[in-house]
């Protein structure tokens, strides 16, 4: 069985160069060394996220000089519309949770820092996963990392289901691992790579939040008083 890193050719032995003039040919022979699927997918996803087609068209249009004139008139009007929309959102009954806009990863982190409302899920037979999952993603036990599940909760935030499992360590520190049923917008933060996983650190200091995407969902790991490095390590294996 070839792993994710293996080459597409497995029956040809490329000799190592024995003379400097053979080095280019030896390296050309490795042209069918391809990127792992997870890297290919991560980059493709990042490209898709970075510049939606409509935004690309708009930015090209704005490069033209004529657009500046229209822009000069449009900006004040747009500002009024945005302010009016914002005001309507603020006074809407139910506020944030009743709106139709998608929650953000920061909203998910807020939930992950709340109290559990259900008992901890049991571990499955293998002992590495819990009998709890969000879509295709099962929650891990993380017992060998020094954490054990202590509770769970399920929330609906702006129409999106958010499943959270809470873990505690021997020192009594608690973290929440929340998985949303959709890809939530993430603003700001610092992009961090850990073992091939693309993670984003949203906060530092007393509250640490790490978020990533997997299987079309947004995962958030959050904890107070827990070093962000611990969360990054756990997240890199869950991502």
């Amino acid at each position: 069985m070839m792993d994710d890193h293996d080459m597409t050719h497995d029956d040809r032995i490329d000799p190592l160069p024995a003379d400097p003039v053979e080095v280019p040919a030896a390296l050309r022979a490795l042209d069918d060394v391809v990127a792992p699927d997870r890297l290919r997918m991560a980059v493709a996803e990042a490209v898709a996220d970075a510049e939606p087609t409509s935004a690309r068209r708009r930015s090209r249009w704005l490069l033209h000089g004529g657009a500046r004139v229209v822009l000069g008139m449009a900006v004040p009007l747009l500002t009024v519309i945005v302010l009016a929309f914002a005001a309507q959102r603020i006074i809407a009954p139910g506020g944030h949770s009743s709106g139709t806009a998608a929650p953000s990863a920061r909203d998910a982190a807020t939930v992950a820092l709340r109290q559990p409302t259900a008992p901890a899920p049991a571990a499955t037979a293998g002992g590495e996963m819990l009998a709890a999952h969000a879509g295709p993603i099962a929650f891990p036990t993380w017992t060998r990392a020094g954490w054990h599940a202590v509770g769970a909760r399920t929330d609906t935030v702006a129409g999106h289901e958010l499943r959270t499992v809470f873990y505690a360590d021997a020192a009594g520190r608690r973290i929440g691992y929340a998985i949303a049923d959709a890809q939530l917008p993430v603003a700001g933060g610092q992009l961090v790579m850990r073992h091939g996983a693309q993670l984003r650190v949203l906060d530092r200091g007393a509250t640490s939040v790490v978020t990533w995407r997997r299987d079309g969902r947004t995962c958030v790991l959050a904890g107070r008083g827990v070093p962000v490095g611990r969360l990054l390590t756990l997240a890199s294996y869950a991502a």
Partner: protein, 183 residues
């Protein structure tokens, strides 16, 4: 001035991965480097300034690599030790026990040898022999002359061959010592 099409990252992903592997000497670090480069490139629109897309992306990869090396040398690692965690899925290839075909072993050995080269030699070799840039493009990328690229390339190839040479026979130990003294 032409703008970089973000899709170029997808188009050239395999070549970027090989370049990153040769720079880092490790597949895992190569993945991280490509992803970090992609994130930096995608952060804002990019102008090509006369370069072709591949040359631009190789330059971005090289800059990210150098930056990450400098940053890493100044910053203590903040992650917990890996043996504290249990992998929760089968995402990795294990701790070196993967069953790689011979060609993968050749790639690993070649890229590891390249990664051990002095920086100037490594960058020249990676730009020309791995990325496939012309001497002119490599000279632009590394801000030097084509003649310098040619010289570095020759010496880099020589060192790669030396590094990959099998163990010397005992009666050829003198020659081995002589070759090492070149480094």
């Amino acid at each position: 001035m032409a703008r970089l099409d973000p899709q170029a990252l997808v188009t050239h992903i395999d070549r970027l991965y090989r370049v990153a592997w040769a720079l880092c000497g490790s597949r895992e670090e190569a993945e991280d480097l490509v992803q970090e480069t992609a994130a930096r490139v995608l952060a804002k629109p990019r102008q090509l300034r006369g370069q072709d897309e591949l040359a631009y992306l190789v330059q971005a990869l090289r800059n990210t690599f150098l930056l990450s090396r400098r940053t890493a040398s100044r910053r203590p690692r903040e992650v917990a030790t890996l043996d504290q965690v249990e992998p929760v899925d089968a995402r990795g290839s294990g701790a070196g026990g993967f069953g790689m075909p011979e060609s993968a072993l050749a790639a690993r050995d070649l890229f590891a040898a390249i990664a051990e080269l002095p920086e100037d030699f490594r960058l020249a070799l990676v730009a020309v022999d791995v990325a496939g840039l012309s001497y002119r493009e490599a000279a632009d990328l590394l801000d030097t002359r084509e003649a310098t690229i040619a010289s570095r390339l020759f010496r880099a190839r020589e060192r790669v061959v030396q590094a990959l040479a099998p163990e010397q026979e005992p009666d050829r130990g003198e020659a081995s010592g002589a070759s090492r003294s070149l480094r």
